[in-house]
């Protein structure tokens, strides 16, 4: 009779969820504190949430090289999870830094914003450390539900409402597909554990022709592919990115995407290892499709936020190349690329946050005309981020793409690497066009409304430092990424 409690207690290991646990506690405490503060006072919550992120980061770093499994094998805090945790924490930190002045400018100084970001990050961390489809699903949903709210955060603004609702409906729709995939895999293998599924599939003689496994693997992939915004499940991305508050767009494009990649990699690399040939073939098509659609449609965009949304689709395509490669170089390349992408994309959005007018109707290419002269610092910062997004040396975008394409070449996918490089060449066009507007067009606006908010500048500086450091000295971090592969 007594052994039930014994079993339950032994399987619990709080070490394995310590970072996200701390983050959730911070989130809940901040939520409670926020109701007792007067309306409009968000600064204390903002700084406390930064402290929460830093504390969580320190705890995560302490867990490096000390893998902890817990909750009956549902969660594992290994190097892989830690690397992604830190990526998500950096994304959340940079986002929060640029948010406070933005919220006040837009007239929504609502303190719940920060706990919601913390909860999103905690969900992302569960996804990265989940080794059971159940925990991965829970992480995905904690992340998504908080993000639905954040995307529709400006509730009086029709654009934000629309973004939130679109994200919500399509997100819930894709969750349905993913769950159906999980159910089918559970039906064949009798377990929802990532490793257990792998074991069961390996023992099956005709796994790659079993309809339930194929359907399950594809449906499960749909859920992840939706979250990372890969074509043909990318249609929500531009609308949601354009309509959501800019810092949230920045966060969405980095943290949650990294977490979705983490869970996707763990599931495909471990559970569906026996289906490598088929999965790789599928990813090959998806990667090419995603890169090409993202880049070519971005050319047609006039709104900079929307253009960056399509560029984020194409970057998801580059990262998918690492999934196709299915080797150590490709996988560590994805880890590295997600970190790089966090810095460069959030940096670019931080510049947009600063130059936006209240209501943000001016974030078009014309609105950026002459920025380079009127606001030299912002011009240079944006130029660095754009160079990095293009993938030019000595920025991090170059090294990130280099590692990923190297992985593809090593696995023998020469054509894929060539297509990837050609796509980067296409992307030069629309990134350079922003530069042309910034430096070679006469200013339409005088940018007199731009306030150089300290916290946002700090966030831009951190992002620049990250982009340049990872571009010039990628070695140490790349070593860490290599050590993170399970």
């Amino acid at each position: 009779m007594e052994n039930l409690a014994q079993i339950a207690m032994e399987s619990v290991n709080f070490q394995a969820i310590m970072p996200s646990l701390v983050l959730c506690c911070f989130g809940m405490v901040l939520l409670l504190v926020s109701v007792f503060l007067e309306r409009g006072r968000t600064a204390p919550i903002c700084w406390l949430s930064i402290i929460g992120l830093v504390v969580t980061g320190i705890i995560s770093i302490n867990g490096w090289n000390d893998p902890q499994a817990g909750f009956a094998g549902g969660v594992v805090l290994d190097n892989f999870a830690t690397f992604f945790n830190l990526t998500c924490l950096i994304a959340a930190g940079l986002t929060i830094l640029m948010s406070d002045s933005y919220l006040h400018r837009e007239g929504y100084p609502v303190a719940e914003y920060y706990p919601l970001i913390l909860f999103t990050t905690a969900g992302a961390m569960w996804m990265a450390s989940g080794t059971d489809l159940m925990t991965i699903f829970l992480g995905l949903e904690v992340l998504s539900v908080s993000l639905y709210v954040l995307a529709g955060f400006f509730r009086g603004q029709l654009r934000s409402n629309e973004a939130g609702l679109k994200y919500f409906f399509l997100g819930a729709f894709s969750t349905g597909f993913m769950l159906y995939g999980v159910a089918l895999l559970y039906g064949v293998t009798g377990t929802t554990k990532v490793a257990g599924i792998a074991e069961a599939i390996r023992l099956m003689p005709d796994a790659s022709s079993n309809p339930m496994i194929i359907a399950g693997a594809i449906l499960l992939s749909i859920g992840f592919l939706f979250k990372i915004g890969a074509a043909p499940f990318h249609m929500w991305t531009p609308d949601v990115y354009q309509g959501a508050p800019t810092p949230i767009t920045a966060f969405m494009s980095a943290g949650p995407k990294a977490a979705a990649f983490a869970a996707f990699m763990r599931v495909t690399y471990i559970s569906l290892d026996s289906l490598q040939v088929d999965m790789s073939a599928m990813f090959w098509v998806l990667a090419v499709l995603t890169m090409t659609i993202g880049n070519f449609v971005a050319i047609a965009q006039k709104d900079v936020k929307r253009m960056l949304a399509f560029s984020s689709i194409s970057h998801a395509g580059y990262a998918l190349v690492g999934m196709v490669a299915w080797n150590e170089v490709g996988f560590s390349g994805i880890l590295f690329y997600m970190l790089v992408y966090t810095f460069m994309n959030i940096g670019a959005f931080a510049v947009l946050v600063l130059i936006g007018k209240q209501g943000e109707d001016n974030l078009t290419l014309d609105g950026m005309a002459g920025l380079g002269y009127k606001r030299p610092f912002l011009g240079v910062a944006m130029a660095i981020f754009l160079f990095s997004l293009m993938g030019l040396p000595p920025t991090a975008g170059f090294t990130g793409k280099f590692f990923i394409f190297a992985g593809a070449l090593k696995a023998g996918y020469v054509w894929l690497a060539i297509l990837g490089v050609l796509n980067s060449a296409v992307s030069l066009y629309y990134y350079l066009r922003v530069m042309v507007y910034m430096y070679f067009r006469d200013p339409v606006e005088d940018f007199s409304w731009v306030k150089m908010e300290m916290a946002t500048i700090v966030s831009i500086l951190i992002a620049i430092a990250g982009v340049l450091y990872l571009g010039v000295l990628p070695g140490p971090v790349m070593e860490l990424a290599k050590l993170s592969i399970f």
């Binding site: 729709f173 159910a183 949601v240």
Partner: protein, 100 residues
């Protein structure tokens, strides 16, 4: 005799009805109900398989799906209300601002 296959077929049909509804309906509340139908058809699959395999994991999963669906319902309703307050409509055809 009703076997696990019947349940699987039933839930597949329900799932298809739900996804068809999401794709064709205009009213947000109805779309949302269709999504719930999809989730519940998945729940049915889980429970039938759990019973068939004699393993509790599927039923535990259903608990989580149910709670998550409730959380999604709350957030979804809140978003719909916010949209309605601004636009006086709950038709998806009124999503007009964000498109290419």
């Amino acid at each position: 005799m009703i076997s696990v296959y019947h349940y699987m077929i039933l839930s597949a049909i329900l799932f298809a009805i739900g996804s068809f509804g999401v794709l064709t309906r205009k009213n947000m509340i109805v779309i949302f109900m269709c999504i719930e139908l999809m989730l519940n058809s998945v729940n049915l699959t889980f429970i039938a398989l759990s019973r068939h395999l004699g393993n509790m994991d599927g039923q535990i999963f259903v608990f989580f799906v149910m709670t998550v669906a409730a959380a999604e319902a709350a957030v979804g309703l809140a978003l719909i209300i916010a949209f309605y307050r601004n636009k006086e409509s709950i038709e998806v055809d009124d999503f007009r601002l964000l498109k290419w």
